[in-house]
Amino acid sequence: MELTLNGVKKSYNDHPIIKDINLKIKTHEFICILGHSGCGKSTMLNLIAGFIQPDEGSIYVDGQMITGPSKERGVVFQEHALFPWYSVLKNVTFGPVVQGVDEKKAVEIAQTHLRKVGLEKYANHYPEELSGGMKQRVGIARALAAEPKLLLMDEPFGALDVFTKESLRKELIEIWMELKTTIIFITHDISEAVYLADRVIVMKNGSIAKDLHIDLPRPRKYHQERFGDLVFELEQVLVN
């Protein structure tokens, strides 16, 4: 899966949100898009997801231009977007079922992914009955069950407490190492970006301010010296 953004621009009411973005993302890469709120990072995710269309330029997936949302590009939203009228299991089978996989196989797929996020016991609960962290886990399982080539994550851990965030980061890395899906992860948290990504793309005022490869071996530790250096480097880019 290769993603290419070619001269992408997007503005709202003559106010440019994204100015001329050129970017190439290779297959299996874990990308973090880092920036403060209003820098255009969510707009970029919505463009890649196909929810909105660029004013100028185009986005290609494996040479194919994006014209709308697709099952190839799964999305995990900031506020969990689970279907409240479906049980956890039915939420996760949603993808396979609408794609025409038969019910029994879909349940198998869903159970595999629920096991990955440690929620197989909660299959019959409704989303309302789960905590914030669990809902987000279901959101991840649901996106993965549709077998996307690219997983887009829009500040998925933003609303969670520090401890839940921490364990979800670890789990996400484990899942990514296993499935090797390409991931684009939006965040405003510098150390989260350094912990997760192969490559951090810093956005400022609608442009790419920095494209930094993170060369730390995994599993990464927050207290490593190199970790601190990278955080500092990114901080400088964001502050100046």
Partner: protein
């Protein structure tokens, strides 16, 4: 991966089952308690009207006691008039309501889907909606005669508008993020309608049905008062013409009971279909 150390389910199941047992033992008491006001109402009515018959304070024909009404009701059942009327009224109100709901929901979905149809249909519907349906009944009778058709159309018409406006309102408030999720999971437009929009809108549709039900019953009774040969509304008019006031009371009470049954059934359906919903005071605070 261990989830339990991080998150715990909010409601301990043991406490819940305990609560259930307590509920069962008090359930019977509650059922009896629920009917005390209604039973008292009839007992008081009986006493007052019996006193009235003894002392002739006001014309006792105008205020028959419930016992006489019951006897009268039994006689009407035996002649077959009441049973026939209940059956024909029920069919009318049921068929009319179902047609009205279906038309309202389908049109709301179409309006929600197509901007063009919204542009053309909405102003016209907004113009027609506020007209009291009963004002149109004489027209319907002239157009369609005095058979079943004008009555059913009138009821459907009455039900149609509240269901339509509620459903449109619901469609407008479907969370966009849910539609986005469904699209990214590979759902087609049709699947989104069936699996996202319809369940989202269901609470609004059912609220529309609750509002409509009362209106449907008024439409039923009025349409039966004008040009009908059967039905509960017809019994009322007939009783007026022949001054059989206890028959009138029988019909009024039966209408009340029938409405309550319909409303109760709708509530059961609502509870069943919206079991996933949490909210309100009951879930906000434990007492």
């Amino acid at each position: 991966m261990n989830v339990n150390q991080v998150d715990k389910i909010t409601e301990p199941s043991a406490a819940k089952s305990n609560q259930k047992r307590n509920l069962n033992s008090t359930k019977l008491n509650l059922t009896i308690k629920k009917y005390i006001p209604i039973i008292s109402f009839f007992v008081l009515w009986e006493c007052l009207t019996r006193l009235n018959i003894t002392f002739e304070l006001v014309n006792s024909n105008f205020f028959p006691p419930p016992s006489i009404i019951a006897v009268q009701g039994w006689q009407l059942i035996q002649t077959g008039v009441l049973t026939d009327s209940i059956i024909s009224s029920t069919i009318r109100v049921f068929v009319g309501t179902v047609i009205g709901i279906l038309a309202g929901v389908v049109l709301a979905l179409i309006i929600g889907k197509s901007k063009l149809i919204d542009y053309w249909a909405s102003p016209i519907l907004n113009m027609l909606g506020p007209i009291p349906s009963l004002a149109i009944l004489p027209l319907f009778i002239i157009w369609f005669g005095i058979g079943e058709i004008p009555k059913i159309i009138l009821i459907a018409w009455t039900v149609f508008f509240p269901v339509l406006t509620n459903t449109i309102e619901g469609i407008k408030s479907v969370r966009p993020v849910l539609i986005r999720s469904a699209l990214s999971l590979g759902a087609s437009d049709q699947q989104i309608y069936k699996k996202v929009i319809l369940p989202s809108v269901l609470p609004n549709i059912l609220a529309g049905c609750q509002i409509s039900l009362g209106l449907a019953f008024s439409a039923l009774v009025v349409s039966e008062m004008m040009g009908a040969t059967s039905g509960l509304g017809y019994i009322i008019v007939d009783a007026r013409n022949y001054f059989k006031l206890s028959n009138m009371y029988v019909a009024i009470i039966v209408i009340g009971i029938e409405y309550s049954l319909f409303s109760y059934t709708l509530k059961l359906v609502e509870r069943k279909m919206l079991s996933w919903r949490k909210g309100g005071f009951a879930d906000a605070i434990e007492k």
